[in-house]
Structures are given as structure tokens and as C-alpha cells.
């Protein structure tokens, strides 16, 4: 009897000790996601709209999430239909709705951007809320409400593509007309400065007209004759005599090292695969201790494989193959997302990948944009249909006139 009592208690202590050891050894991870991160709508007096958001249980744990909403100013009413959610480990995500209502008679609302927020907070599960002292996570889905300005006003940004030394970069200035009036002529002047504020170049975009609420992309090409590094672009958008300016930093020649290709020979699932990653050093100096890091994610976006190649020194302006080995024991056939990083010093280049694994093949697809199309020089289907319609109209009018004249002669 006594020994049974002792056993019962020693089991209890053992369990407690195990939980404590696991708790101390294993890192505790709290994570939470929300999508979309932002919903943008145009203000319309009296409008009511239901908006869906999804809360994501990234770690597939038993978690509790508290929800609340805030408005940065009184531009409407935001109603959340739920104020808390509970997730079980089997539940990946839950979709909820909230409602935004704009008053029908409010005319004094300030033109411009008004922000509302839905905040999802992960409640610590294994401790009393009052006594919990660790860090907690919260994520926000923003509601951006744009109130149109009575005259002409715009919102603009800058994207810089292919900014490499001795190549042609494309500057794109997306412009959204946030006013109630159309813009007849919008163009942008971009001044490029180095970080010592010395002007290096000035470029001008094409000009476009923009309807109210519409978006247009002003663009300009620039032959890059500057060294690799960070630069400052000062953008002035001129629209129908008015103008707005902003600044944005961008990099030239950011990719010192480019990932050219990945080869896998004689792949057999369940064995060790040899990955050959061809990289090119585009820098005019040697790069030391370069290595590749391949990360493969499972269908729940968790890291399934994280492998590294050996370190190599790559001479200036040359190519080298980095070798990495992947033990595919336990890997199942299927399609996986992946990321290939090539690290050098504090910098890295990366390429997003899709890995298609079958019993005796591993196909790796890079995902990205091509600069020039290899085909697709055909006629637009709308143009073809338009031509056909015009042709039929012309034929019909012609034979109608022809028969009228024939009838007249008779």
C-alpha cells in the first residue's frame, strides 16, 4: 500500500520534472498572423460594408486570441462580430467579419487618409493573465479609408527595377488620383543624389492623364553610370500645374552575387541528393566565405529542411559551383516551396523556388519575372474582335447600299 502511494507520487514528480525540463530545453514559440494586413476603400457617405479578415494559427497550437477594433479618428463606426477566438492545433486559420458604416450626412470629414484597425492579440495560455510577464504578440489588419479631396490631389510612390551598374534601370512612379477631378497631365521629375547630397542625375518620366480614383504608372529609363551603392531619389510629381514631392532611397548594384542555376543529378528519394548551385560574382573584388543555404517549407509553411553548402572563395567576375547535400530520408513526394540564399559577408542573395519531388526526380523551378517575352507577339483578342465587327459592319453596309442602288435602277 505504502509502495503504491510512493509510486503514485513519484510518477507525479517525474511528470512535473519532465514538463519543467521540456519547458526549459525546448524554445517556446508564440506566433500569430492576420490577412489581409490592409484593406483600402474609398469613402462613400452612407455606405455599409462587411469586410472579411483571416486570423492564422501559424504554429498549430491551442491558442486563444482576443480581438478589438480602434479608429484613429471618428470617420465612421467599426463593428466586430466576434471579440475572441479559440484555436485547436488542427485549426490553421479562422475567417471573421467586421462591418464599417459611414454616416450619410457627414460632409465635414477631412479629405485624405483615415485609419481603422482590427487588433488580434494572442492571450498567454499557460499562465494567469495577471501574472504573465513574458512577451506577447499582436497583429493588426488595417482599414484605410480614402476621403477624396474636392480638387486635385494625388498619392505617389517609387519603384526602381534593374538598377545595376552599366545597365538600364526603370523608374516607375505609380500615381493614384485621390481627387474628385480628373488630371489631364501628370509627369514626374526624379533627381538622383548620392548620400553626400551631390546631384548625380535628373530624369523625367512620360506624362499621362488620370481619371478620378484611377491609378497610372509614370515611367522613365535611366542608363546607370554610377558605382554600386545607396542613392537618394527626390521625386517631384507635377500634375496640371500643381506638384508634390517626396524622397526614397534605392540601391544600385545590390546583387553583387547572382544565383545562376541549380542542378541535381541522379536524384533518388530517400537518399542523399547532391545539389550543385552555380553562382556568379559580379563584383570587381573577390568574395570570401560564400555559402548557399537552401530552406524547404512543408505545406504548413514550416521549415522542413535547412541545409548549407561548404564555404568557397569566388574570384572577382567569375562563376563557381557550390555543393550542398540534402538527406531526403522521410521526405514525401510532392510540391514544396523553398528559398535559396547565397550568403557572403553580411549580405545575401536569395531566390524563391518550387521543388517538385517524385521517386526519382527533383525538379527545381525558380520563380520570378522575365525581362523580355520570348513569345506573345500576337494580336490582342479585343482588337481582333473589333476588326471582325467593323469588317462585318462594312460588308453589311456595302451590300445594303448595293441592293438599294440595284432596287433604284429597277
Amino acid at each position: 500500500m505504502i509502495s503504491r502511494y510512493k509510486n503514485k507520487h513519484s510518477n507525479k514528480y517525474l511528470k512535473f520534472a519532465l514538463v519543467l525540463i521540456i519547458g526549459l530545453i525546448l524554445p517556446a514559440i508564440s506566433s500569430l498572423g492576420i490577412s489581409p494586413g490592409r484593406t483600402s476603400i474609398d469613402y462613400d457617405p452612407g455606405m455599409e460594408k462587411d469586410i472579411e479578415i483571416t486570423i492564422i494559427n501559424n504554429e498549430h497550437k491551442n491558442i486563444e486570441v482576443r480581438l478589438y477594433s480602434t479608429l484613429h479618428d471618428e470617420f465612421g463606426t467599426l463593428t466586430l462580430f466576434e471579440d475572441s477566438l479559440e484555436f485547436f492545433p488542427s485549426e490553421d486559420r479562422k475567417t471573421i467579419k467586421y462591418k464599417i458604416e459611414f454616416p450619410g450626412n457627414q460632409t465635414d470629414l477631412e479629405p485624405g487618409l483615415h485609419i481603422g484597425e482590427i487588433v488580434a492579440v494572442q492571450i498567454p495560455k499557460f499562465a494567469e493573465k495577471d501574472t504573465f510577464i513574458g512577451a506577447t504578440v499582436a497583429v493588426v489588419s488595417q482599414l484605410y479609408v480614402y476621403v477624396p479631396c474636392p480638387g486635385k490631389c494625388i498619392e505617389a510612390g517609387l519603384e526602381v527595377l534593374d538598377a545595376e551598374t552599366n545597365s538600364t534601370a526603370t523608374f516607375i512612379v505609380p500615381v493614384i488620383n485621390r481627387g474628385k477631378v480628373g488630371i489631364g497631365d501628370a509627369r514626374a521629375i526624379i533627381d538622383i543624389f548620392n548620400l553626400d547630397f551631390e546631384k548625380k542625375a535628373t530624369i523625367q518620366t512620360d506624362s499621362l492623364s488620370i481619371e478620378p480614383g484611377a491609378r497610372a504608372e509614370l515611367s522613365a529609363k535611366w542608363d546607370v553610370n554610377l558605382n554600386a551603392g545607396n542613392y537618394l531619389a527626390k521625386i517631384t510629381v507635377i500634375y496640371d500645374g500643381e506638384s508634390t514631392s517626396f524622397e526614397k532611397e534605392f540601391s544600385v548594384g545590390d546583387k553583387l552575387l547572382s544565383i545562376e542555376s541549380i542542378f541535381v543529378n541522379n536524384f533518388q528519394l530517400g537518399e542523399i541528393a547532391k545539389l550543385q548551385i552555380l553562382v556568379e560574382n559580379r563584383w570587381n573584388q573577390d568574395l570570401d566565405d560564400v555559402f548557399a543555404n537552401l530552406i524547404v517549407f512543408n505545406d504548413r509553411d514550416q521549415v522542413m529542411t535547412d541545409i548549407k553548402s561548404s564555404n568557397e572563395d569566388i574570384p572577382a567576375l567569375s562563376k563557381k559551383t557550390l555543393i550542398a547535400y540534402w538527406d531526403t530520408v522521410g521526405v514525401e513526394e510532392g510540391e514544396y516551396d523553398g528559398k535559396l540564399l547565397v550568403k557572403y559577408g553580411k549580405k545575401s542573395s536569395d531566390k524563391n523556388l518550387i521543388l517538385k519531388i517524385s521517386e526519382n526526380s527533383l525538379d527545381i523551378f525558380g520563380v520570378g519575372y522575365a525581362i523580355q517575352p520570348k513569345g506573345g507577339r500576337g494580336f490582342d483578342v479585343t482588337t481582333i474582335l473589333l476588326v471582325v465587327i467593323i469588317l462585318l459592319i462594312v460588308i453589311n453596309i456595302s451590300w445594303f447600299i448595293f441592293f438599294r442602288r440595284l432596287k433604284g435602277k429597277k
Binding site: P27, S31, G37, A135, V137, G378, V381, I395
Partner: protein, 155 residues
């Protein structure tokens, strides 16, 4: 005579419609998060743009029957094309995802952006904002293991 013209027009119309049907660039596609898988039936390229008028388009060539593209969150317009016909305009929307992860071990804690957009993380303690961290997707930073960390989309 009239009948002949009508029949001629009908034949012409049928021929045109058949030609468009045969040469029309066809693709299947499905979206998984930020990745779109295109399966070409008779297309050579998919043309993407953030503007409905396809200004500054970007091209994805079909090297194989299947091709993948990963897009940043946002609204996109796309059409498939081959050497004969450019297809109709389609719309696609990639939702942004704000995701935060705090990894705590016995010594310190690390916060990581596990979403697909750049985020601004506000640290609050007892409701008072005491700091900000800006993280790109997959970036992480060491933090103090206390307080509430709130992640918001930046751009």
C-alpha cells in the same frame, strides 16, 4: 443573292470564331499564398501589370508546360499570349499577411516577421508605446522577453 451573302458572312464568322478558339492562348492557374502556378495549354507567355492598361508590363515565359511566379501582395492584371493572339484581361489579388513570431529560449527572445510584407512592430508596456522595430519578411531581431509586440503593415 442575299442568301448567298448571309451564308458567306456566317461562314466567315464561323471561321473567325473557330480560329480565335483554336489560337486563343489558354492557361490553367491556381494560387497558393503568393505563388501562382500557370499551366500552359497553348500560351508562350503571361503578361502582368499592376495597371489595368498594362503599362510597364512584366513577362513570365513558359520554359516548360508549367511555370510559377511569386508576387508581392497587391492587385494585378494579367493576360496570356502566344504568337497569334493576346488573351483577355484577368485580375488577381494577392492578400498581404502580417505575421509575428516570438521565439523564447532560456536566455533571450527573438522576434521574427513571418508574414509577407514589411512590418512596423510597436512595443508597448502597460499600454504605453516604448519602441519600434521595422522588419522585412523573414527578418528577425533580439528583444526583451516582456511587453506586447504589435505588428502592422508598413507600405
Amino acid at each position: 443573292m442575299k442568301n448567298k451573302i448571309i451564308i458567306g458572312e456566317l461562314v466567315f464568322l464561323i471561321l473567325i470564331i473557330t480560329a480565335i478558339y483554336v489560337f486563343y492562348p489558354k492557361v490553367d492557374y491556381d494560387i497558393n499564398g503568393e505563388v501562382i502556378r500557370f499551366n500552359s495549354i497553348n500560351s508562350d507567355v503571361v503578361i502582368f501589370s499592376e495597371s489595368p492598361d498594362f503599362s510597364n508590363p512584366r513577362y513570365i515565359n513558359f520554359e516548360n508546360e508549367e511555370t510559377y511566379v511569386r508576387l508581392d501582395p497587391g492587385k494585378y492584371y494579367w493576360k496570356a499570349a502566344n504568337n497569334f493572339v493576346k488573351g483577355f484581361k484577368n485580375e488577381i489579388e494577392i492578400d498581404s499577411e502580417v505575421g509575428l513570431e516570438i521565439d523564447k529560449d532560456s536566455e533571450d527572445a527573438e522576434i521574427k516577421n513571418i508574414g509577407n510584407v514589411k512590418i512596423n512592430i510597436t512595443k508597448t508596456d502597460d499600454g504605453i508605446t516604448i519602441g519600434h522595430i521595422i522588419l522585412d519578411p523573414s527578418e528577425s531581431e533580439k528583444i526583451e522577453d516582456k511587453g506586447e509586440y504589435i505588428g502592422r503593415q508598413v507600405e
